[in-house]
């Protein structure tokens, strides 16, 4: 190998976003290790780091902090968001140079859709590896069992629907209210994108400058989805129906409760694992009738069937330490050989676990053919499924490459929901989304219009402030007129508080002033800040108002429910313990233990406890056999359901309320027994003496804990970050909290200026709440303890 010259001895090549999950780790490692053996002295380091998909925080902090990885394995759909910020290196020069080498990736060897998704403004920023496309899964066995029903409806039970209108008719015939759904448009993985693409929609104008989300074809597709949902009883009904079946083995498609679904090729392994006996078929997803019969708008259309794909690509971040070696790795990993090595390793690992191996779809045409030959399953229905998915790759579409790809996605989801819930007409909902996206595009385009602020000015202001401080200190010192001894003591005093004073100035005052300054700028750290005046605050009250209000409302919910419930449950236990039972140490430990479990560990633990599937999650197992069976209530979706996500956090908070209990116990010990005796003489019942003696005496503790509890709850971050996932804010933003929103803005979108204005808003809110609480305190806090 002539390539060993690239790496000096012991060069470490780091790859982030590596797929290290159980279904992909063996393959990822095999590719890396083979590369190592071929390039002696090169050490590969594969890290997941939670990057590569939609969460950009880690990668951006690394790039800005000056320690980026060599390579990033990135979801293709976000690549243009990155490229537009100058965070990725274009790969064209490498390709041009190595074009004639056998392992060099060449556009024509890839499916057009897979390649073009990583192209931004004519340059390629990532080389595709995997690709995933969507197809129609239909339950052949069910069709045959219900042949009479289908025949009566004038439908052929031997084949799946091919057009939208057929789809709706099949769905209507097969749907039994509450028991079985024929077809739920968004069950599986289709989204509006698939139906809109099928209907000939595009989401951006050809020049990429304006958003065309609200177009006739897209609205038509949304209308189709609406009709589809109406057949199965409406969007809310369908979601309730769906939420009963989380988890692979409970897939309603496998159990025959959903007759047809549109899903990606990744669902094949799931079917092999949980429903190997199911008689199903895979077909191209049904298209608009005009497209199928090639008439009207589609008279000259090339593709009869259409799917859309996503997938991952290798890309090089700005500041990549070993670009040449990184390029070698990209070439190797994306080549036919690399793809085969990965699949072989994964196959042997899966089989060792006793599972059937089904290869995933690739972006490289040759790889798909080779893999299909090698791993064609013995079972004909799986073989057919794989073949259909491979075949669809030639007529695939992709989400548009744009700066605002993520926002466009989020807005299209929102518009879909609004329409399906019947709140807006398709066109109106799409127009709203289009406006939001367009506004962001305009802001990005107009960035140059604001003046840059040089750090010299900022430094000068800071210097002036510091000088003023020094002068003030000198005046105070002069005024004091101390004797020699006092002077000596004062000097020692200042010396002793120096650690705090320095920390206060450097880590508190300076950052606070800096953050105040940033809140009036547009600052992305990569380029100098630009003075935008009050625009950030105006944005907060204007276009972004909904998010900000939602974040504070969520925090308010967590504080308003979590703090009182936590305190009350702690008090209840403390009261029980305070009657002087034996074994108080044991009980105290038992109730207190959860409070000392590290947040990260308890969050991870609770993710599993709260798993909605009652066959898996502890809480829902208990629910199913208690509340669920008494009241015939379906188990709640907890973190996966909008209305249950916050109660889930509150529940978890109660579990950790042990420290409150200890506090109450200490407080109860401090209540003089003479007061109770006096109350008893007056003939008070135990309930009365609780409200008239215990509570007033405990009110100062209660007050203090309410104040601190609110401050803590409004700053909630760790649990939400871990439990909602790093790139999500929970279902329908139900776990969007101010600190997380700030974090995402600052280190995700690098809108430091906007984040700073959010920070100051959080500060203001906390200050107001605390002041109000102090004002109200005299009304209910026992006065003696207030001094």
């Amino acid at each position: 190998m002539a390539l060993s010259g690239f790496g000096r001895a012991d060069t470490t090549l780091s790859v982030w976003g590596a797929q290290l999950g159980p279904d992909s780790i063996a393959g990822s490692l095999a590719v890396a290790q083979t590369f190592e053996t071929r390039h002696p002295g090169v050490h590969l380091r594969l890290l997941g780091l939670g990057v590569g998909h939609m969460n950009p925080q880690k990668l951006l902090t690394a790039i800005v902090g000056g320690s980026p990885p060599d390579l990033i394995f990135q979801a293709r759909f976000n690549i243009s968001d990155w490229a537009s910020r100058g965070a990725f290196i274009p790969l064209d020069p490498f390709i041009r140079r190595d074009f004639n080498q056998p392992d060099c990736p060449r556009e024509k060897e890839y499916y057009e859709a897979a390649w073009s998704e990583a192209v931004y403004k004519g340059k390629i920023y990532g080389i595709p590896t995997g690709a995933d496309d969507r197809a129609l899964y239909w339950n052949r066995g069910l069709f045959s069992r219900e042949r009479e029903l289908l025949t009566k409806a004038g439908l052929d039970w031997r084949r799946p629907p091919r057009t939208w209108s057929e789809m709706l008719r099949y769905s209507k015939a097969l749907t039994i209210k509450g028991k079985r759904a024929g077809f739920i448009p968004n069950f599986g993985n289709a989204w509006l994108y698939l139906y809109a693409f099928q209907n000939g929609a595009s989401f951006l104008s050809p020049d990429g400058k304006s958003c065309t989300l609200a177009s006739e074809p897209a609205a038509g597709a949304l209308e189709f989805m609406k009709q589809g949902y109406d057949i199965v009883g409406g969007y809310t009904e369908a979601n309730v129906f769906q939420s009963g079946f989380q988890g692979g083995e409970n897939d309603p498609f496998i159990s025959g409760q959903v007759a047809m679904k549109i899903d990606g090729d990744w669902s094949l392994p799931g079917l092999a694992r949980y429903g190997p006996g199911l008689d199903f078929g895979v077909a191209p997803p049904p298209v608009p009738d005009d497209r199928y019969y090639r008439r009207g708008r589609f008279a000259n259309e090339k593709d009869q069937f259409i799917t859309w794909i996503g997938g991952f690509s290798y890309a090089m971040p700005r500041g990549c330490p070993h670009p040449e070696l990184a390029w070698e790795y990209i070439k190797f990993a994306s080549s036919l050989e690399g793809r085969l090595i990965e699949n072989r390793a994964q196959a042997s690992s899966d089989r060792a676990k006793g599972r059937m191996y089904l290869p995933r779809i690739q972006g490289l045409k040759a790889a798909n053919e080779a893999l299909y030959k090698l791993y064609c399953p013995a079972d004909p229905k799986f073989a057919e499924g794989l073949r259909v998915h491979v075949g669809l790759m030639n007529s695939a579409r992709v989400r548009p490459a744009t700066v605002v790809g993520q926002l466009l996605w989020d807005e299209h989801v929102r518009a879909t929901e609004q329409t399906l819930l019947g709140k807006l007409s398709p066109m109106a909902a799409l127009s709203e989304g289009q406006q939001t996206v367009q506004r962001e595009m305009n802001v990005l385009a107009s960035k140059g219009g604001y003046p840059e602020v040089s750090f010299a000015v900022v430094g000068a202001i800071g210097g002036a402030l510091a000088l003023a401080g020094v002068i003030l200190a000198v005046i105070v010192w002069r005024r004091a007129r101390l004797g020699i001894l006092a002077r000596k003591e004062a000097r020692w005093g200042y010396l002793c508080i120096a650690p705090w004073a320095i920390g206060f100035l450097v880590l508190t005052v300076e950052p606070m002033l800096a953050s105040l300054f940033f809140s009036f700028t547009d600052y992305d750290v990569l380029s100098p800040p630009r003075w935008v005046g009050l625009r950030n605050f105006a944005d907060m009250l204007g276009p972004d108002r909904a998010n900000v209000i939602k974040a504070f409302a969520n925090a308010g919910y967590l504080a308003g429910m979590g703090v009182p419930l936590g305190l009350a449950s702690g008090l209840a236990v403390a009261l029980l313990l305070n009657v002087g039972v034996r074994g108080i140490r044991f009980y105290r430990t038992a109730f207190y233990l959860p409070a000392i479990v590290p947040v990260a560990a308890s969050a991870v633990l609770w993710i599993w406890l709260l798993t909605p599937d009652p066959n898996k999650g502890l809480i829902n197992t208990v629910w199913r056999s208690s509340v669920g069976s008494w009241l015939a209530l379906p188990p709640p979706g907890w973190l996966t359901a909008e209305s249950w996500a916050k109660p889930a956090l509150v529940l978890m908070g109660i579990w950790g309320a042990g420290s409150g209990m200890i506090l109450w116990l200490a407080g109860l010990k401090g209540v003089p027994a003479s007061l109770y005796e006096a109350a008893e003489i007056d003939g008070a019942t135990s309930v009365r003496s609780f409200w008239n003696v215990t509570m007033p005496m405990l009110s100062p503790i209660l007050f203090f804990n309410i104040v601190m509890g609110f401050i803590g709850a409004i700053q909630e971050f760790d649990r939400v970050y871990i439990m909602a996932g790093d790139d999500s804010n929970g279902p329908s933003d139900s776990l969007l909290v101010p600190a997380k929103y700030l974090f995402t803005n600052a280190f995700g979108y690098f809108k430091m200026g906007y984040a700073s204005s959010l920070a100051w808003t959080i500060f203001a809110v906390i200050l107001i709440i605390t002041l109000v609480q102090f004002r109200l305190a005299p009304l209910w806090v026992h006065e003696e303890s207030l001094k």
Partner: protein, 553 residues
């Protein structure tokens, strides 16, 4: 076995519930307080017992089993409470009792309506060990009468004891609820993947796949070394000069690696072949075919022993024994990136962070607190008020500028931003320690001054020893804070070598979240050190909470 246990608990709960209701009846007769509590608890226990699966019978406890939907139970409870209240109203002539009774009747009516609404609701009486006959019915009534008589005969002391028992029962139930997640964590960390989900409720008794050692001549398992690491590998080919090309199977962090070695450097070891059963046979899997089918070598019945046949996976059942799957722990450790030395580096980083934070906090906070408490200097009180005000400042405001500050210092991807601030005295700790310093009598200090001790000497030799318990509390809180710190590493740390446990755990969750067994094994390992510390320093933990809570006063 589990269902029997559940049944026993259910029966016990039902009997206790019945006893409580009888007690309530007795209390009513005596016009004693506590009727509502007794009746409510009894009703709750009966309600709880109603969740016990009815199909499980036995244990020789005679029982009448009533299966009813919630609405029926609620109706019964309402009826019972209404009767109690009305009875009291008649006996005592108190008007409010009458109203209470009417309210209960109204509530009961609502539940009757609810019960009527649900078409599938019905009340069944399942017979336990005693049949539902005139004889058994009258004997049950007799039992109830006898129980009430016994209660009447019992002294006041007995009443107290039963109160105690109720408190203990409540506390114990609470402890179980609070401890359940821990139990689940521990059990799950020892379960196989396939036991993670079960349609009949959670699996609390882990089972492990039975395996047999199998020396496979056609596809041998080799043991050897790769770059200093112990590996098990399968043979994937031979080079032209006869060396082996092998592919690593274990440890998990190297799975899939392919390398070449001389045949002598490997040792052939038996594979762990999974034992399976099927229609009328037991055997073990010798080979997994490319198309998903499996080759099984029979071991029973004897007539087939040693022969092989190919099966579809659906036709085979694994043979499993009750055991703990400790492999989750070794797998979790093996799955950590190689450079973290099976996660030891995470632990090391966390320890560095914790130790330096604790030292820094103790040193800086105590000296600053001492100055604020005992030394006089101009502006002292103003400065102290500023210090108190900073306690309310949300971390969010300083987050980003601090990030930029550390970036300009080149501290990104080091532990420095996480522990250096500890040396600059946190406001809360200063406040806490100052309160303690203020309580020390001045005589001690004066004695020191007479002996000619300087400020530092007085602080170190005389004052500091006086507040040892408070220092311990501060140390423990700092320890917990540093062990817990998540946002800091999330922002500043980019490589596993510098990662502390908290962040590593979150990453493990986001990468390997699909494997609860490994996840829970890792989580258990993260929690263990904190729990150990807690059991050694329980007193300070408890004191710490108490102090922090009262600190605001």
């Amino acid at each position: 076995m589990t269902s029997n246990l559940l049944y026993a608990i259910g029966v016990l709960a039902a009997w206790s519930g019945a006893a409580m209701l009888l007690r309530a009846l007795y209390l009513t007769l005596r016009r004693a307080p506590g009727v509502a509590i007794s009746a409510g608890a009894g009703g709750l226990l009966l309600l709880g017992a109603s969740t016990t699966p009815v199909y499980a019978q036995g244990l020789g406890i005679p029982i009448l089993w009533i299966v009813a939907p919630f609405a029926a139970w609620a109706t019964a409870t309402c009826g019972w409470m209404a009767a109690v209240r009305l009875f009291q109203a008649i006996l005592d002539g108190i008007r409010s009792r009458l109203y209470a009774g009417l309210i209960w009747i109204a509530a009961g009516a609502v539940f009757v309506a609810l019960y009527r609404l649900d078409p599938e609701s019905k009340i069944e009486i399942v017979r336990g060990q005693i049949g539902l006959s005139l004889v058994s019915g009258s004997s049950l009534v007799g039992l109830a009468v006898a129980a009430i008589a016994a209660m009447a005969a019992a002294s006041r002391r007995v009443r107290q004891v039963s109160g105690r028992l109720a408190v203990h029962a409540a506390l114990l139930a609470g402890s179980i609820v609070f401890g359940l997640p821990f139990a689940w964590l521990l059990v799950t960390s020892f379960k196989e993947d396939r036991d993670m989900s079960n349609a009949n409720g959670l699996i609390w008794v882990p089972r492990v796949q039975r395996t047999v050692p199998f020396l496979d001549p056609s596809d041998p398992l080799l043991e050897g070394e790769y770059k200093g690491n112990w590996v098990q590998a399968s043979l994937s080919g031979r080079t032209s000069n006869g060396s082996y090309i092998v592919e690593v199977q274990r440890p998990a962090s190297l799975r899939g690696v392919s390398f070449v070695g001389a045949p002598k450097s490997f040792r052939v070891v038996p594979k762990d072949a999974p034992v399976v059963s099927g229609a009328g046979f037991i055997g073990f899997v010798t080979k997994e075919l490319d198309d998903g089918r499996r080759v099984v070598r029979f071991s029973a019945p004897l007539s087939k022993a040693g022969k092989e046949q190919t099966f579809m996976p659906a036709d085979l059942q694994p043979v499993r024994d009750i055991a703990l799957r400790t492999q989750n722990y070794t797998d979790a450790l093996e799955a950590m990136p190689i450079e973290t030395k099976h996660g030891l580096v995470y632990l090391k980083n966390t320890l560095i962070l914790v130790v330096l934070s604790v030292i820094g906090t103790l040193l800086s906070s105590s000296i600053v607190a001492y100055a604020f408490a005992r030394l006089r200097f101009p502006g002292r009180d103003t400065l102290f008020k500023i210090l108190l005000a900073t306690m309310m400042l949300p971390g969010a405001v300083t987050l980003m500028p601090q990030f930029l500050l550390y970036r300009s210092l080149g501290w990104i991807d080091t532990l420095l931003p996480l522990w250096v601030p500890a040396f600059f005295a946190g406001a809360f700790n200063v406040f806490l320690l100052r309160q303690f310093f203020s309580q020390i009598p001045t005589e001690l200090e004066d004695a020191g001054k007479i002996d000619g001790a300087g400020v530092l000497q007085t602080f170190w030799r005389i004052m500091l020893p006086q507040i040892k318990p408070a220092l311990a509390v501060v140390a423990i809180w700092t320890f917990m804070g540093a062990w817990n710190n998540f946002m800091g590493p999330l922002l500043y740390i980019n490589t596993p070598e510098n990662m502390p446990l908290s962040y590593a755990l979150q990453l493990f969750q986001s990468e390997r979240g699909g494997e609860p067994g490994l996840m829970m094994a890792f989580a258990t390992l993260t929690i263990l050190p904190v729990l150990a510390l807690f059991f050694f320093a329980q007193r300070y933990f408890i004191e710490g909470v108490t102090l922090s809570g009262f600190g605001g006063r």
